[in-house]
Protein backbone atom coordinates (compact mmCIF):
# COMPACT_ATOMS: atom_id res chain seq x y z
CA UNK A 1 0.00 0.00 0.00
CA UNK A 2 2.81 2.37 0.87
CA UNK A 3 4.52 1.63 -2.44
CA UNK A 4 1.30 2.27 -4.30
CA UNK A 5 0.69 5.57 -2.48
CA UNK A 6 4.17 6.83 -3.29
CA UNK A 7 3.94 5.90 -6.96
CA UNK A 8 0.50 7.42 -7.18
CA UNK A 9 1.84 10.65 -5.65
CA UNK A 10 4.76 10.65 -8.08
CA UNK A 11 2.49 9.95 -11.05
CA UNK A 12 0.09 12.77 -10.18
CA UNK A 13 2.86 15.26 -9.37
CA UNK A 14 4.68 14.67 -12.65
CA UNK A 15 1.38 14.76 -14.49
CA UNK A 16 0.68 18.30 -13.33
CA UNK A 17 4.26 19.39 -13.97
CA UNK A 18 4.04 18.04 -17.54
CA UNK A 19 1.65 20.91 -18.28
CA UNK A 20 4.63 23.25 -18.18
CA UNK A 21 5.94 21.54 -21.30
CA UNK A 22 2.59 21.54 -23.06
CA UNK A 23 -0.94 20.22 -22.84
CA UNK A 24 -0.80 16.43 -23.10
CA UNK A 25 -2.79 13.29 -22.26
CA UNK A 26 -0.96 12.80 -18.97
CA UNK A 27 -2.01 16.25 -17.80
CA UNK A 28 -5.53 15.68 -19.10
CA UNK A 29 -5.75 12.51 -17.06
CA UNK A 30 -4.54 14.14 -13.83
CA UNK A 31 -6.82 17.10 -14.49
CA UNK A 32 -9.81 14.78 -14.96
CA UNK A 33 -8.99 12.97 -11.72
CA UNK A 34 -8.51 16.25 -9.88
CA UNK A 35 -11.77 17.80 -11.07
CA UNK A 36 -13.87 14.71 -10.38
CA UNK A 37 -12.43 14.06 -6.96
CA UNK A 38 -12.42 17.62 -5.70
CA UNK A 39 -15.98 18.28 -6.88
CA UNK A 40 -17.14 15.11 -5.15
CA UNK A 41 -15.24 15.93 -2.00
CA UNK A 42 -16.81 19.35 -1.73
CA UNK A 43 -20.32 18.08 -2.39
CA UNK A 44 -19.86 15.61 0.45
CA UNK A 45 -18.34 18.11 2.87
CA UNK A 46 -20.98 20.76 2.15
CA UNK A 47 -23.73 18.21 2.41
CA UNK A 48 -22.69 17.10 5.89
CA UNK A 49 -21.51 20.47 7.17
CA UNK A 50 -24.10 22.82 5.75
CA UNK A 51 -27.14 20.75 4.93
CA UNK A 52 -27.00 18.15 7.65
CA UNK A 53 -25.29 19.89 10.58
CA UNK A 54 -26.61 23.40 10.08
CA UNK A 55 -29.99 22.90 8.42
CA UNK A 56 -31.31 19.45 9.23
CA UNK A 57 -30.04 19.26 12.79
CA UNK A 58 -31.11 22.88 13.26
CA UNK A 59 -34.70 22.13 12.32
CA UNK A 60 -34.81 18.64 13.82
CA UNK A 61 -32.45 18.74 16.80
CA UNK A 62 -31.10 15.47 18.10
CA UNK A 63 -33.28 14.09 20.83
CA UNK A 64 -31.34 13.84 24.04
CA UNK A 65 -32.24 10.87 26.22
CA UNK A 66 -31.19 10.43 29.81
CA UNK A 67 -29.97 7.12 31.21
CA UNK A 68 -33.47 5.89 31.85
CA UNK A 69 -34.34 6.50 28.22
CA UNK A 70 -36.59 9.50 28.91
CA UNK A 71 -36.55 12.55 26.75
CA UNK A 72 -34.77 15.51 28.31
CA UNK A 73 -35.04 19.05 27.14
CA UNK A 74 -32.41 19.69 24.54
CA UNK A 75 -31.82 22.30 21.91
CA UNK A 76 -34.91 24.05 20.62
CA UNK A 77 -35.50 23.62 16.91
CA UNK A 78 -34.74 26.75 14.88
CA UNK A 79 -37.70 27.09 12.55
CA UNK A 80 -36.23 30.20 10.93
CA UNK A 81 -33.99 27.87 8.97
CA UNK A 82 -37.00 26.60 7.06
CA UNK A 83 -37.08 29.97 5.27
CA UNK A 84 -33.59 29.18 4.00
CA UNK A 85 -34.75 25.73 2.97
CA UNK A 86 -37.72 27.19 1.06
CA UNK A 87 -35.43 29.64 -0.72
CA UNK A 88 -33.18 26.72 -1.64
CA UNK A 89 -36.15 24.79 -3.03
CA UNK A 90 -37.23 27.82 -5.06
CA UNK A 91 -33.74 27.78 -6.53
CA UNK A 92 -34.33 24.23 -7.74
CA UNK A 93 -37.43 25.41 -9.61
CA UNK A 94 -35.04 26.27 -12.43
CA UNK A 95 -35.28 22.66 -13.44
CA UNK A 96 -38.98 23.14 -14.32
CA UNK A 97 -39.18 25.44 -17.35
CA UNK A 98 -42.69 26.72 -16.56
CA UNK A 99 -41.87 28.14 -13.13
CA UNK A 100 -38.16 28.63 -13.68
CA UNK A 101 -38.48 32.39 -13.23
CA UNK A 102 -39.22 31.91 -9.55
CA UNK A 103 -35.57 30.95 -8.99
CA UNK A 104 -34.82 34.66 -9.30
CA UNK A 105 -36.33 35.21 -5.88
CA UNK A 106 -33.62 33.46 -3.88
CA UNK A 107 -31.09 35.08 -6.21
CA UNK A 108 -32.58 38.49 -5.44
CA UNK A 109 -32.40 37.67 -1.75
CA UNK A 110 -28.71 36.79 -1.99
CA UNK A 111 -27.85 39.86 -4.03
CA UNK A 112 -29.72 42.15 -1.64
CA UNK A 113 -28.13 40.61 1.45
CA UNK A 114 -24.62 40.67 -0.02
CA UNK A 115 -24.90 44.23 -1.30
CA UNK A 116 -26.36 45.55 1.96
CA UNK A 117 -23.94 43.73 4.19
CA UNK A 118 -20.77 44.65 2.33
CA UNK A 119 -21.81 48.21 1.67
CA UNK A 120 -21.54 49.02 5.31
CA UNK A 121 -18.64 46.70 6.13
CA UNK A 122 -16.43 48.02 3.36
CA UNK A 123 -17.40 51.55 4.25
CA UNK A 124 -16.37 51.16 7.86
CA UNK A 125 -13.16 49.19 7.44
CA UNK A 126 -11.93 50.37 4.03
CA UNK A 127 -12.92 54.03 4.07
CA UNK A 128 -13.29 55.25 7.64
CA UNK A 129 -10.42 53.32 9.21
CA UNK A 130 -7.97 54.14 6.41
CA UNK A 131 -8.73 57.87 6.55
CA UNK A 132 -8.34 57.84 10.29
CA UNK A 133 -5.00 56.03 10.10
CA UNK A 134 -3.63 58.50 7.58
CA UNK A 135 -4.27 61.47 9.85
CA UNK A 136 -1.05 61.37 11.90
CA UNK A 137 1.33 64.17 12.89
CA UNK A 138 4.08 64.27 10.29
CA UNK A 139 6.78 65.09 12.83
CA UNK A 140 5.61 62.50 15.31
CA UNK A 141 4.28 63.29 18.73
CA UNK A 142 6.22 66.19 20.28
CA UNK A 143 8.81 66.36 17.48
CA UNK A 144 10.13 63.00 18.57
CA UNK A 145 10.44 61.46 15.10
CA UNK A 146 13.71 60.99 13.26
CA UNK A 147 14.22 62.29 9.75
CA UNK A 148 13.65 58.74 8.47
CA UNK A 149 10.22 58.57 10.08
CA UNK A 150 9.28 62.11 9.01
CA UNK A 151 10.08 61.37 5.38
CA UNK A 152 8.08 58.18 5.69
CA UNK A 153 5.07 60.02 7.14
CA UNK A 154 5.12 62.66 4.44
CA UNK A 155 5.37 59.99 1.76
CA UNK A 156 2.38 58.13 3.20
CA UNK A 157 0.23 61.27 3.35
CA UNK A 158 1.20 62.51 -0.12
CA UNK A 159 0.91 59.03 -1.62
CA UNK A 160 -2.56 58.38 -0.25
CA UNK A 161 -3.76 61.80 -1.38
CA UNK A 162 -2.39 61.59 -4.93
CA UNK A 163 -3.48 57.97 -5.21
CA UNK A 164 -7.04 59.14 -4.63
CA UNK A 165 -6.56 61.84 -7.25
CA UNK A 166 -5.70 59.11 -9.73
CA UNK A 167 -9.00 57.33 -9.04
CA UNK A 168 -11.06 60.50 -9.55
CA UNK A 169 -13.52 59.91 -12.38
CA UNK A 170 -15.04 63.33 -12.99
CA UNK A 171 -11.97 65.18 -14.17
CA UNK A 172 -9.64 64.59 -17.08
CA UNK A 173 -6.02 63.96 -16.03
CA UNK A 174 -4.72 67.32 -17.26
CA UNK A 175 -2.77 70.24 -15.82
CA UNK A 176 -1.99 70.30 -12.11
CA UNK A 177 -4.63 67.67 -11.53
CA UNK A 178 -2.95 65.48 -14.10
CA UNK A 179 0.46 65.86 -12.48
CA UNK A 180 -1.00 64.88 -9.13
CA UNK A 181 -2.62 61.86 -10.75
CA UNK A 182 0.71 60.91 -12.29
CA UNK A 183 2.38 61.03 -8.86
CA UNK A 184 -0.48 58.83 -7.71
CA UNK A 185 0.27 56.30 -10.43
CA UNK A 186 3.91 56.25 -9.34
CA UNK A 187 2.83 55.33 -5.84
CA UNK A 188 0.52 52.62 -7.15
CA UNK A 189 3.34 51.23 -9.26
CA UNK A 190 5.69 51.14 -6.28
CA UNK A 191 2.97 49.33 -4.36
CA UNK A 192 2.54 46.74 -7.07
CA UNK A 193 6.26 46.29 -7.59
CA UNK A 194 6.84 45.88 -3.87
CA UNK A 195 4.05 43.35 -3.40
CA UNK A 196 5.25 41.39 -6.39
CA UNK A 197 8.88 41.34 -5.32
CA UNK A 198 7.76 40.38 -1.86
CA UNK A 199 5.85 37.31 -3.08
CA UNK A 200 8.24 36.10 -5.77
CA UNK A 201 10.64 34.80 -3.19
CA UNK A 202 8.17 33.07 -0.96
CA UNK A 203 6.60 31.08 -3.79
CA UNK A 204 9.83 29.16 -4.34
CA UNK A 205 9.47 27.20 -1.13
CA UNK A 206 6.27 25.57 -2.44
CA UNK A 207 8.19 24.08 -5.33
CA UNK A 208 11.06 23.00 -3.10
CA UNK A 209 8.55 20.94 -1.10
CA UNK A 210 7.30 19.13 -4.22
CA UNK A 211 10.78 18.48 -5.61
CA UNK A 212 11.80 17.14 -2.23
CA UNK A 213 8.85 14.76 -2.39
CA UNK A 214 9.87 13.52 -5.84
CA UNK A 215 13.56 12.94 -5.18
CA UNK A 216 13.37 12.34 -1.45
CA UNK A 217 10.21 10.57 -0.32
CA UNK A 218 9.53 8.84 -3.61
CA UNK A 219 12.87 7.93 -5.15
CA UNK A 220 15.03 8.08 -2.05
CA UNK A 221 17.82 9.97 -3.78
CA UNK A 222 18.01 12.61 -1.07
CA UNK A 223 18.21 11.68 2.54
Amino acid sequence: MEHFALWLGGFLTLGIFSFLYKDNPWYKLTEAIYVGISAGYFVVVYFWDNFYSKFWVGVFPHKRLNEAGELIAGVEPDYWLIVGGVLGLLMLMRLLPKVGWISRWPLAFIVGATAGLWLINYFASFVMVQIQNTVTPLFGMDYSASLYVIVGNIVVAVGTFTGLVYFFFSKEHKGAFGSAARVGIFFLMITFGASFGYTVMSRMSLLIGRIDFLFGDWLGMIK
Binding site: M201, S202, L206, G209, L219
Partner: protein
Protein backbone atom coordinates in the same frame (compact mmCIF):
# COMPACT_ATOMS: atom_id res chain seq x y z
CA UNK B 1 13.06 11.45 -35.17
CA UNK B 2 9.61 13.00 -34.88
CA UNK B 3 8.62 15.08 -31.87
CA UNK B 4 6.19 12.40 -30.80
CA UNK B 5 8.88 9.72 -30.77
CA UNK B 6 11.17 11.99 -28.78
CA UNK B 7 8.48 12.64 -26.24
CA UNK B 8 7.79 8.96 -25.82
CA UNK B 9 11.49 8.35 -25.40
CA UNK B 10 11.72 11.00 -22.67
CA UNK B 11 8.71 9.50 -20.92
CA UNK B 12 10.28 6.06 -21.04
CA UNK B 13 13.51 7.47 -19.66
CA UNK B 14 11.69 9.17 -16.79
CA UNK B 15 9.91 5.93 -15.98
CA UNK B 16 13.08 3.86 -16.14
CA UNK B 17 14.91 6.41 -14.00
CA UNK B 18 12.16 6.37 -11.37
CA UNK B 19 11.96 2.60 -11.36
CA UNK B 20 15.70 2.13 -10.98
CA UNK B 21 16.00 4.55 -8.12
CA UNK B 22 12.86 3.28 -6.45
CA UNK B 23 14.20 -0.26 -6.51
CA UNK B 24 17.47 1.17 -5.28
CA UNK B 25 15.67 2.82 -2.41
CA UNK B 26 13.97 -0.44 -1.48
CA UNK B 27 17.34 -2.19 -1.66
CA UNK B 28 18.80 0.48 0.61
CA UNK B 29 21.08 2.42 -1.72
CA UNK B 30 22.97 5.41 -0.43
CA UNK B 31 21.63 8.87 -1.21
CA UNK B 32 23.02 10.55 -4.31
CA UNK B 33 25.55 13.20 -3.46
CA UNK B 34 27.70 15.40 -5.61
CA UNK B 35 31.09 16.06 -4.14
CA UNK B 36 32.12 19.66 -3.68
CA UNK B 37 34.16 19.64 -6.89
CA UNK B 38 31.31 18.20 -8.94
CA UNK B 39 28.92 20.68 -7.35
CA UNK B 40 31.11 23.59 -8.29
CA UNK B 41 31.47 22.31 -11.85
CA UNK B 42 27.68 21.96 -12.12
CA UNK B 43 27.17 25.50 -10.86
CA UNK B 44 29.75 26.76 -13.30
CA UNK B 45 28.01 24.99 -16.17
CA UNK B 46 24.65 26.46 -15.23
CA UNK B 47 26.21 29.92 -15.00
CA UNK B 48 27.87 29.50 -18.38
CA UNK B 49 24.63 28.42 -20.00
CA UNK B 50 22.92 31.48 -18.54
CA UNK B 51 25.66 33.61 -20.05
CA UNK B 52 25.06 31.88 -23.38
CA UNK B 53 21.37 32.76 -23.13
CA UNK B 54 22.34 36.35 -22.45
CA UNK B 55 24.53 36.38 -25.55
CA UNK B 56 21.76 34.82 -27.61
CA UNK B 57 19.38 37.49 -26.34
CA UNK B 58 21.76 40.27 -27.25
CA UNK B 59 22.00 38.76 -30.70
CA UNK B 60 18.24 38.99 -30.87
CA UNK B 61 16.95 35.52 -30.10
CA UNK B 62 14.43 35.54 -27.28
CA UNK B 63 14.17 32.53 -25.00
CA UNK B 64 10.69 31.14 -24.52
CA UNK B 65 8.97 30.55 -21.21
CA UNK B 66 9.76 26.88 -21.14
CA UNK B 67 13.46 27.65 -20.89
CA UNK B 68 12.71 29.81 -17.86
CA UNK B 69 10.69 26.95 -16.38
CA UNK B 70 13.55 24.56 -16.99
CA UNK B 71 16.01 26.80 -15.20
CA UNK B 72 13.72 27.24 -12.21
CA UNK B 73 13.38 23.47 -11.97
CA UNK B 74 17.15 22.98 -12.22
CA UNK B 75 17.87 25.72 -9.71
CA UNK B 76 15.59 24.13 -7.16
CA UNK B 77 16.43 20.48 -7.77
CA UNK B 78 20.21 20.36 -8.20
CA UNK B 79 21.25 21.98 -4.91
CA UNK B 80 19.42 19.24 -3.05
CA UNK B 81 22.17 16.86 -4.16
CA UNK B 82 25.11 19.15 -3.60
CA UNK B 83 27.68 19.21 -0.89
CA UNK B 84 28.49 22.82 -0.38
CA UNK B 85 30.16 24.10 2.68
CA UNK B 86 28.85 27.54 3.24
CA UNK B 87 29.47 30.14 5.81
CA UNK B 88 26.28 30.82 7.60
CA UNK B 89 26.13 34.21 9.27
CA UNK B 90 23.92 33.97 12.30
CA UNK B 91 21.47 36.82 12.57
CA UNK B 92 20.78 38.25 16.04
CA UNK B 93 17.10 37.24 16.05
CA UNK B 94 17.95 33.59 15.45
CA UNK B 95 20.72 33.67 18.01
CA UNK B 96 18.23 35.07 20.51
CA UNK B 97 15.97 32.05 20.09
CA UNK B 98 18.93 29.77 20.65
CA UNK B 99 20.29 31.66 23.63
CA UNK B 100 16.96 31.56 25.42
CA UNK B 101 16.82 27.81 24.87
CA UNK B 102 20.37 27.46 26.12
CA UNK B 103 19.49 29.27 29.31
CA UNK B 104 16.82 26.74 30.25
CA UNK B 105 17.84 24.23 32.93
CA UNK B 106 17.32 20.49 32.39
CA UNK B 107 13.73 19.42 32.85
CA UNK B 108 12.26 22.79 31.90
CA UNK B 109 8.90 22.60 30.21
CA UNK B 110 8.68 23.95 26.69
CA UNK B 111 5.40 24.47 24.85
CA UNK B 112 5.54 24.24 21.06
CA UNK B 113 2.53 25.26 19.01
CA UNK B 114 2.37 23.98 15.43
CA UNK B 115 0.22 26.48 13.58
CA UNK B 116 0.73 25.57 9.93
CA UNK B 117 -0.22 23.04 7.28
CA UNK B 118 1.71 20.97 4.69
CA UNK B 119 2.18 23.73 2.05
CA UNK B 120 4.30 25.70 4.53
CA UNK B 121 6.20 22.63 5.68
CA UNK B 122 9.34 23.21 3.55
CA UNK B 123 10.08 26.33 5.58
CA UNK B 124 8.75 25.41 9.00
CA UNK B 125 9.36 21.67 9.29
CA UNK B 126 13.19 22.05 9.44
CA UNK B 127 12.74 24.58 12.25
CA UNK B 128 10.47 22.20 14.11
CA UNK B 129 12.93 19.33 13.78
CA UNK B 130 15.93 21.36 14.88
CA UNK B 131 13.99 22.75 17.81
CA UNK B 132 12.82 19.33 18.98
CA UNK B 133 16.30 17.92 18.51
CA UNK B 134 17.78 20.55 20.76
CA UNK B 135 15.09 20.04 23.39
CA UNK B 136 15.46 16.26 23.41
CA UNK B 137 19.24 16.44 23.45
CA UNK B 138 19.23 18.78 26.44
CA UNK B 139 16.51 16.97 28.36
CA UNK B 140 13.89 19.64 28.06
CA UNK B 141 10.31 18.44 28.32
CA UNK B 142 8.25 19.23 25.26
CA UNK B 143 4.50 19.82 25.15
CA UNK B 144 3.12 20.12 21.62
CA UNK B 145 -0.20 21.43 20.36
CA UNK B 146 -1.73 23.01 17.28
CA UNK B 147 -4.14 25.81 16.49
CA UNK B 148 -4.31 24.58 12.90
CA UNK B 149 -6.03 21.24 12.23
CA UNK B 150 -3.02 19.77 10.45
CA UNK B 151 -0.45 21.13 12.90
CA UNK B 152 -0.31 18.15 15.27
CA UNK B 153 0.22 15.86 12.27
CA UNK B 154 3.26 17.94 11.34
CA UNK B 155 4.42 17.65 14.96
CA UNK B 156 4.23 13.87 14.77
CA UNK B 157 6.25 13.83 11.56
CA UNK B 158 8.92 15.98 13.18
CA UNK B 159 9.08 13.80 16.29
CA UNK B 160 9.37 10.66 14.21
CA UNK B 161 12.26 12.16 12.29
CA UNK B 162 14.13 13.40 15.35
CA UNK B 163 13.61 10.19 17.33
CA UNK B 164 15.24 8.19 14.53
CA UNK B 165 18.50 10.01 15.23
CA UNK B 166 21.01 7.70 16.94
CA UNK B 167 21.90 10.11 19.68
CA UNK B 168 18.29 10.77 20.60
CA UNK B 169 17.34 7.12 20.25
CA UNK B 170 19.87 6.18 22.92
CA UNK B 171 18.14 8.51 25.36
CA UNK B 172 15.10 6.26 25.25
CA UNK B 173 12.57 9.04 25.56
CA UNK B 174 9.06 8.14 26.60
CA UNK B 175 5.83 9.55 25.26
CA UNK B 176 3.86 11.17 28.04
CA UNK B 177 6.91 11.69 30.22
CA UNK B 178 9.42 13.46 28.04
CA UNK B 179 7.15 14.75 25.35
CA UNK B 180 3.46 14.87 24.61
CA UNK B 181 1.25 15.96 21.72
CA UNK B 182 -1.97 17.54 22.95
CA UNK B 183 -3.44 17.71 19.46
CA UNK B 184 -5.56 20.31 17.71
CA UNK B 185 -8.13 22.56 19.28
CA UNK B 186 -10.52 24.71 17.26
CA UNK B 187 -11.23 28.24 18.40
CA UNK B 188 -8.32 30.33 17.08
CA UNK B 189 -6.97 32.88 19.58
CA UNK B 190 -9.59 31.98 22.17
CA UNK B 191 -7.76 28.72 22.71
CA UNK B 192 -4.71 30.68 23.88
CA UNK B 193 -6.86 32.84 26.09
CA UNK B 194 -8.52 29.87 27.78
CA UNK B 195 -5.16 28.18 28.19
CA UNK B 196 -4.18 31.19 30.24
CA UNK B 197 -6.40 29.98 33.02
CA UNK B 198 -6.51 26.25 32.36
CA UNK B 199 -4.79 24.04 29.79
CA UNK B 200 -7.01 21.11 30.57
CA UNK B 201 -10.21 22.89 29.65
CA UNK B 202 -8.88 23.23 26.10
CA UNK B 203 -7.17 19.84 25.88
CA UNK B 204 -9.19 17.35 27.93
CA UNK B 205 -7.18 14.59 26.23
CA UNK B 206 -4.03 14.39 24.14
CA UNK B 207 -4.24 13.44 20.46
CA UNK B 208 -4.22 9.76 21.39
CA UNK B 209 -7.22 10.19 23.65
CA UNK B 210 -5.40 9.82 26.98
CA UNK B 211 -7.08 12.01 29.62
CA UNK B 212 -5.01 15.09 30.53
CA UNK B 213 -4.64 14.22 34.20
CA UNK B 214 -3.23 10.79 33.38
CA UNK B 215 -0.32 12.18 31.41
CA UNK B 216 2.62 12.45 33.81
CA UNK B 217 4.28 15.31 31.96
CA UNK B 218 1.32 17.66 32.06
CA UNK B 219 -0.80 16.58 34.98
CA UNK B 220 0.77 19.31 37.09
CA UNK B 221 0.71 21.89 34.36
CA UNK B 222 -2.19 24.19 35.10
CA UNK B 223 -1.54 27.16 32.85
CA UNK B 224 1.22 29.24 31.31
CA UNK B 225 2.81 29.88 34.68
CA UNK B 226 4.06 26.27 34.64
CA UNK B 227 5.67 26.69 31.22
CA UNK B 228 9.23 27.96 30.97
CA UNK B 229 9.36 28.74 27.28
CA UNK B 230 6.88 28.95 24.45
CA UNK B 231 7.73 28.43 20.80
CA UNK B 232 5.32 29.07 17.96
CA UNK B 233 5.67 27.90 14.36
CA UNK B 234 3.32 29.91 12.26
CA UNK B 235 2.35 30.61 8.68
CA UNK B 236 -0.68 32.85 9.15
CA UNK B 237 -3.72 33.28 11.31
CA UNK B 238 -3.94 32.20 14.06
CA UNK B 239 -0.24 32.41 14.72
CA UNK B 240 2.58 34.43 16.20
CA UNK B 241 0.61 37.68 16.33
CA UNK B 242 -2.09 36.07 18.46
CA UNK B 243 0.47 34.36 20.71
CA UNK B 244 2.15 37.71 21.30
CA UNK B 245 -1.07 39.57 21.95
CA UNK B 246 -2.50 37.04 24.36
CA UNK B 247 0.13 34.71 25.77
CA UNK B 248 2.84 37.36 26.09
CA UNK B 249 0.88 40.53 26.76
CA UNK B 250 -1.67 39.05 29.12
CA UNK B 251 0.05 36.07 30.67
CA UNK B 252 3.70 37.08 30.54
CA UNK B 253 4.97 34.06 28.64
CA UNK B 254 8.49 34.00 27.15
CA UNK B 255 7.89 33.51 23.46
CA UNK B 256 10.07 32.65 20.48
CA UNK B 257 8.75 32.02 16.99
CA UNK B 258 9.46 30.50 13.62
CA UNK B 259 7.68 32.10 10.66
CA UNK B 260 7.40 31.71 6.92
CA UNK B 261 9.32 34.29 4.91
CA UNK B 262 6.06 35.96 3.87
CA UNK B 263 5.01 36.59 7.41
CA UNK B 264 8.30 37.23 9.17
CA UNK B 265 8.73 40.96 8.39
CA UNK B 266 5.42 41.72 10.10
CA UNK B 267 6.81 40.31 13.33
CA UNK B 268 9.81 42.60 13.65
CA UNK B 269 7.91 45.29 15.56
CA UNK B 270 7.07 42.71 18.24
CA UNK B 271 10.71 41.80 18.52
CA UNK B 272 11.83 45.38 18.82
CA UNK B 273 9.29 45.84 21.59
CA UNK B 274 10.68 42.79 23.37
CA UNK B 275 7.42 40.87 23.19
CA UNK B 276 9.14 38.24 21.12
CA UNK B 277 12.55 37.04 22.29
CA UNK B 278 13.62 35.77 18.89
CA UNK B 279 12.49 34.87 15.42
CA UNK B 280 13.42 32.31 12.80
CA UNK B 281 12.36 33.76 9.45
CA UNK B 282 11.88 31.55 6.41
CA UNK B 283 14.34 29.08 4.98
CA UNK B 284 17.34 31.22 5.93
CA UNK B 285 16.24 31.33 9.57
CA UNK B 286 15.79 27.55 9.51
CA UNK B 287 19.29 27.03 8.13
CA UNK B 288 20.87 29.32 10.73
CA UNK B 289 19.03 27.59 13.53
CA UNK B 290 20.08 24.18 12.23
CA UNK B 291 23.66 25.38 12.27
CA UNK B 292 23.37 26.48 15.90
CA UNK B 293 21.63 23.33 17.11
CA UNK B 294 23.96 21.11 15.03
CA UNK B 295 20.92 19.31 13.61
CA UNK B 296 21.76 19.42 9.94
CA UNK B 297 18.42 18.74 8.35
CA UNK B 298 16.74 19.98 5.26
CA UNK B 299 16.68 23.67 6.10
CA UNK B 300 20.31 24.14 5.07
CA UNK B 301 19.80 22.26 1.83
CA UNK B 302 16.50 23.96 1.07
CA UNK B 303 18.07 27.33 1.67
CA UNK B 304 20.66 26.71 -1.03
CA UNK B 305 17.85 25.73 -3.38
CA UNK B 306 15.98 28.87 -2.57
CA UNK B 307 19.00 31.12 -3.03
CA UNK B 308 19.67 29.48 -6.39
CA UNK B 309 16.07 30.05 -7.45
CA UNK B 310 16.40 33.70 -6.45
CA UNK B 311 19.55 34.09 -8.55
CA UNK B 312 17.77 32.56 -11.50
CA UNK B 313 14.80 34.93 -11.18
CA UNK B 314 17.09 37.95 -10.91
CA UNK B 315 19.17 36.68 -13.85
CA UNK B 316 16.10 36.36 -16.04
CA UNK B 317 14.84 39.80 -15.08
CA UNK B 318 18.18 41.16 -16.28
CA UNK B 319 18.04 39.07 -19.46
CA UNK B 320 14.50 40.29 -20.08
CA UNK B 321 15.59 43.90 -19.82
CA UNK B 322 18.55 43.33 -22.08
CA UNK B 323 16.17 41.87 -24.65
CA UNK B 324 13.88 44.85 -24.30
CA UNK B 325 16.57 47.50 -24.68
CA UNK B 326 17.99 45.67 -27.63
CA UNK B 327 14.67 45.61 -29.45
CA UNK B 328 14.11 49.27 -28.58
CA UNK B 329 17.42 50.30 -30.07
CA UNK B 330 16.62 48.45 -33.23
CA UNK B 331 13.15 49.84 -33.74
CA UNK B 332 14.00 53.33 -32.57
CA UNK B 333 12.08 55.14 -29.87
CA UNK B 334 8.68 55.21 -31.46
CA UNK B 335 5.85 55.12 -29.03
Amino acid sequence: MSTKAKEILVLALIFAFSLIFYIGKVLGWEAVRFSTTVSLIVILLVALSLLWILILTIRGRLVERRIVFLYVGIAVALPLFMTLSQRIAISPEVEAVYNTLEGLPEGSKVLVSFDYDPPSAPELQPMAEAFLYYCFEHDLKVIMMGLWPQGPMQANLAIEKVLSDEKIKSKNLKYGEDYVNLGFQAGYEFVIQRMGSDFRSMFPTDYRGTPYEQIPLVKNVKNFSNIDYCFNLSSGFPGTREWVQIAVDRFGVTLGAGNTAVQAPQMYPFMRAGQLVGLLGGMVGAAEFEFLTKWIGKGTKFMISQSFAHVIVIAFIIIGNVAFFRSKRKTGLKR
